[in-house]
Assembly symmetry: C2
Homo-oligomer: 318 residues x 2
């Protein structure tokens, strides 16, 4: 059965579950069809609370997200979970079997779970994931929870796209310190030290608190740092309460507006840069001597960039 | 004492150690002075072999690089090590004390060691690091070894900038599988399973070998996977031999040329995108209504990007 984009939009806006699943596939695939559907859905997005969950690999995010979603389901009866995994061309996503665990969550009324592949390290979260979030938002989910593994640009992209950012770390692998090193905690609104059933979680929390206290660079106030165990469920209720509290906080809601402006600006500039990048590739293809000159040391990369920009501005590109 | 850029270049080309240190500071700082000095040095770069070392945090890269550099010092009498660390505004680099360990390496004749901060997750390796590599290359080092922690775009940037890419993982924290998940191994020429003195290194190697065998997506041949212990030094000799062998391999040297073209293209396009991004920001500053329209759902981010691009092409920006 084929369905026009407008029909699909109408069914998505009506909350038809199968239509939502189909729409997400179209948005994820991108291209002209994805862009056309996104343009139809985008005006209806913007009402959902967007909660981003990120953190280093192995911090136990998937299980925690499962439990957290159950806790928040009371407040947000229509809840969508989007798990974004980096897809390695080497593995073809074969290692992503742990996603299957989230199946049972999907069976709760009003809950929708979807995992999508990111485009590998190059892409980060990628524009497609943002458009899928818009689609879920337009479909009327009150809470869109997006989980991503913090290995590339993706954690930053999540933080930029989310109203509230939860960073998950675990004791043991030096996660806390590594996350600090990686800059992962800079944009956290809430930090969860997971696996509190194992030893060392308290120490990680204390280290993180000390690091945040020392920090003068952070403009927003230090995040709440909570212990939880995705295994036993301990602390997940308090974590949900912390999300709930932020969502209802007046000051914080004002910041949502600022964040959404920032997110919009970032998306516009990012899209422009992709367009300009394609134009630049066309210039370099039509004149390979530019690249050769740079390789041979006859022209600096910077001078070549200027030259390409000049040609694009002069319209010397298709 | 002030030194003209041309004087500084002459001293760098003559291999003056203090001049090299000063030049790197200028290149790292960037700006007009950095660009001017880079333009003077760039024509003299291109002769060094560039070895990139990356891998997840905690894999023991710094110690391994120290040992590997000592092993390779016989083949490459003039050897530079550049350690790029993500600098977190939260920590102000306070956690980077482990760099100090590399001090003794610097005392070997012809060896130059420098660490520089990356610009956090946003920047990845960053254009400044590439320009510092060019400076070291121009200064006549035969081998430029650049080490970066694989947390952001940086590992990709290193792989693109390097002639040979060595990825370091360690058993224990599920590093091997996590590195696969993160796409970290796709561009590896050599994989080192470090900490072979601990248990589990063999298993990680076998897992990785199996994963590479399954892979059909990889166009280049599977990388060598070697065990080593940066603690005891075991296996580091074989690792150095593997680097040496690749560097001397005829087929591989042909690939160097292809890689350098690819690296040059990437640098040109990246520079163009930064320029275009700045132009886009100026457009959005001069007309904030565009961002507001996107936030309010009146215009998609994609449509706004098109509009900004149109305005840049029409010259509606300073």
């Amino acid at each position: 059965m084929t369905l026009s984009a407008a029909d699909l939009r109408d069914r998505v806006l009506a909350g038809d579950r199968r239509a939502v699943a189909r729409a997400i596939t179209v948005l994820e695939r991108g291209g002209d069809d994805g862009a056309a559907l996104h343009a139809l859905l985008y005006p209806h997005a913007g009402r959902a609370l967007r909660l981003g969950v990120t953190g280093p690999p192995g911090a136990g995010k998937s299980t925690l997200v499962d439990r957290l979603a159950r806790e928040l389901h009371g407040d947000f009866s229509r809840l969508a979970v989007l798990a974004v995994d980096p897809s390695s061309p080497v593995t073809h996503g074969a290692l992503l079997g742990d996603r299957i665990r989230m199946g049972a969550l999907q069976e709760l009324p009003g809950v929708f779970v979807r995992s999508m592949a990111s485009r590998g390290l190059l892409g980060g979260l990628g524009p497609a994931a943002l458009e899928v979030m818009d689609g879920l938002d337009a479909a009327g989910f009150d809470l869109v929870l997006v989980e991503t593994v913090g290995v590339g640009q993706s954690e930053l992209d999540v933080a930029f796209a989310a109203d509230i950012t939860l960073v998950v770390v675990a004791p043991g692998a030096g996660d806390g310190i590594q996350a600090l090193k990686a800059g992962l905690l800079e944009m956290a609104d809430i930090v969860c030290v997971n696996k509190s059933d194992l030893g060392g979680a308290e120490t990680v929390r204390n280290d993180l608190m000390a690091a945040f206290e020392l920090s003068s660079a952070r403009s927003e106030k230090a995040p709440a740092i909570l212990l939880a165990s995705s295994k036993t469920g301990e602390g997940v209720g308090a974590l949900a309460a912390s999300v709930r509290e932020l969502a209802g906080d007046e000051d914080f809601r004002i910041r949502f507006g600022e964040r959404r402006r920032r997110a919009a600006q970032r998306r516009i500039v990012g899209g422009l840069q992709r367009e300009a990048g394609h134009a630049a590739e066309r210039v370099l293809e039509s004149d390979p001597v530019l690249v050769t000159s740079v390789v041979d040391g006859l022209m600096t990369p910077r001078a070549a960039s200027h030259e390409v920009f000049r040609r694009i501005l002069k319209g010397e590109t298709s």
